[in-house]
Amino acid sequence: MRRVARVATGLAFTLVILVPLFPLYWMVISALKGPEELQKIPPTWFPADPTFGAFGEVFQVIPFGGAFLNSVLIAGVSTVSVLVTSVMAGYVFAKYRFRGREVLFWAVVATMFLPPIVTLVPLYWLVSTMGLADSYLGVMLPWLANAFGIFLMRQFIADVPDELIDAARMDGASEARILWRVITPLLRPAVVSLAIFAFVFYWNNFLWPLSILQSDDKFPVVLALSRLLSYSTSVRYQNVVMAGALIASVPTMLVFLLAQRVFVRSVARTGVKG
């Protein structure tokens, strides 16, 4: 009985590792196959003649390099903005007392659960009325602050002892100085996890860029990828599409691998998707 249990656990572990990774494996080997091998029935489970040609080709058939840089810009700026606005608002909600604080805070938190599709139409109208349709600023502006970041930062800043803040005030430090020089340095794990969350979220975000952007020179990489797919539905071009998918996945995977522990811990702590 004990042995059966051990074998079952071992088998379960193997599945828990293989099932999540198999599609990623298939992405890699499909990118490495040539057009002939891709058309083979049944498919090969290991590339017979691996070639890296598709990785060059994807940059020629569509402006993939530009799209990659667009994503870096969009995700980068949004992430920095979310960090700054969340630390500031989180500090106020954690440490200042004013009338309506709790109501305002929970109203903000409630927006965390709002599916973006609900407000897509008016958001499009607002941003295009501001003259920002089809612009980088238009893609970023609605997402430059978010409830999740504020919630996360408030939770962490609440743990900072009040005595520390009072001592700084005694010394005559301004509120801004207290926030950036006293509190923020203590928030490193929180800032790192929020940065990762925000970066992954903005890098992968698809619905809003799809709705607000028209010109392909402003497309982020996921949008470019969806266009690439619609040009090349034939299986012989699948290596190019898979190479694109692989390149698009590298930044978030890399960030995850580098900071896996912090990331998992912060999911556990907050329990909400950013």
């Binding site: 599609p23 607002l126 969806s226 299986v235 998918a245």
Partner: protein, 311 residues
């Protein structure tokens, strides 16, 4: 870190002069620190919720100025209730969400226990593998799943053939397309929910298990009497988050099926985006969007009420 060493004598002297102004400066800081975030959330989240309802009461083509909207009252809602599309989308969304829940909740609980209790070397690797699917762009990995599901060229079809079974047509059969998308969704999100279960498990004191063992309870008994009851809050939370995540599924539908075949994967979010941006029927899209919000609030309320009644 000591703060005192950081302020110069000049700053310290200034603090005396500013003592009376401290209340004012705190108030100014509140406004200064809060306003960037509140402006963004107010203008781009709060106002649009109200606007969604407002637009849903009008006829509007999306690409003309808002001033050219014409009042329709509840006409858009009447059209939704009279037509096919909304009910199809609502039904597909309901099936999708239910299937996701039915698979996700037991699986996440089982995986959470598997990755928490045994003292095994592979635990860290398994957690990382399981969670990695969550960070890959949905668009990129949906493309891969399209290839996995492909008839003839796909590995899943081959695996079925290898054991002598006829593979379903997955995404191209109206009977299986929605289920195929559910499988993808669960595959991508399960690691995330599992981490939440593990976080819940770490809150259960280990001596409870010790006591149960002394009373002669085996693994199943411990699971039923200790683990599951003490995970109730976590489980409720996961149910809510899973509903919210599943109810807004869009990316894989857009990439893999475009709502087809035969509208079998037209879920609400896809129908909303399509009415607004492809058909130019923003009033009707907004009526659907606002209905989605109401449905979501009702469902979340029901889940919370059910949870409260039982405890």
């Amino acid at each position: 870190m000591t703060v005192g060493t950081r302020s110069t004598p000049a700053v310290r002297a200034a603090s005396g002069r500013r003592a009376g102004a401290r209340g004012v400066s705190r108030k100014a800081a509140t406004i200064a620190f809060l306003s960037p975030a509140m402006a963004v959330i107010g203008v781009f989240v709060a106002v649009p919720i109200a606007l969604t309802f407002w637009i849903s009461l009008h006829d509007w083509s999306m690409y003309t100025p808002l001033s050219e909207m014409s009042w329709r009252g509840l006409g858009n809602y009447r059209d939704l209730l009279a037509g096919q599309e909304f009910f199809t989308a609502l039904r597909n969304t309901a099936i999708y969400v239910l299937l996701v829940l039915v698979v996700t909740i037991p699986l996440a609980l089982a995986l959470g226990m598997l990755l928490y209790f045994p003292k095994s070397a592979g635990k860290g690797l398994a957690r990382a593998a399981l969670f990695s699917t969550y960070v890959v762009p949905a668009i990129a990995i949906a493309i891969v799943w399209g290839a996995l599901y492909a008839p003839d060229y796909g590995p899943i079809a081959q695996a079925f053939a290898a054991v002598g079974l006829d593979a379903p047509a997955w995404l191209s059969d109206p009977g299986t397309a929605l289920v195929s998308l559910v499988v993808f969704h669960v595959w991508q999100m399960i690691g995330y929910y599992t981490i939440l279960v593990i976080a819940g498990l770490t809150q259960i004191p280990l001596d409870l298990y010790e006591a149960a063992r002394i009373d002669g309870a085996g693994f199943w008994r411990q699971t039923v009497s200790v683990t599951l009851p003490l995970l109730r809050r976590t489980t409720t939370f996961i149910v809510l988050i899973a509903i919210i995540n599943a109810i807004q599924v869009f990316d894989p539908v857009y990439i893999l099926t475009q709502g087809g075949p035969a509208e079998s994967t037209t879920v609400l979010s896809f129908a909303i985006q399509r009415s607004a941006f492809q058909y130019g029927m923003a009033g009707q899209a907004s009526a659907m969007a606002f209905s989605l919000l109401l449905v979501l609030i009702a469902v979340a309320g029901a889940v919370l009420a059910a949870m409260r009644r039982r405890s």
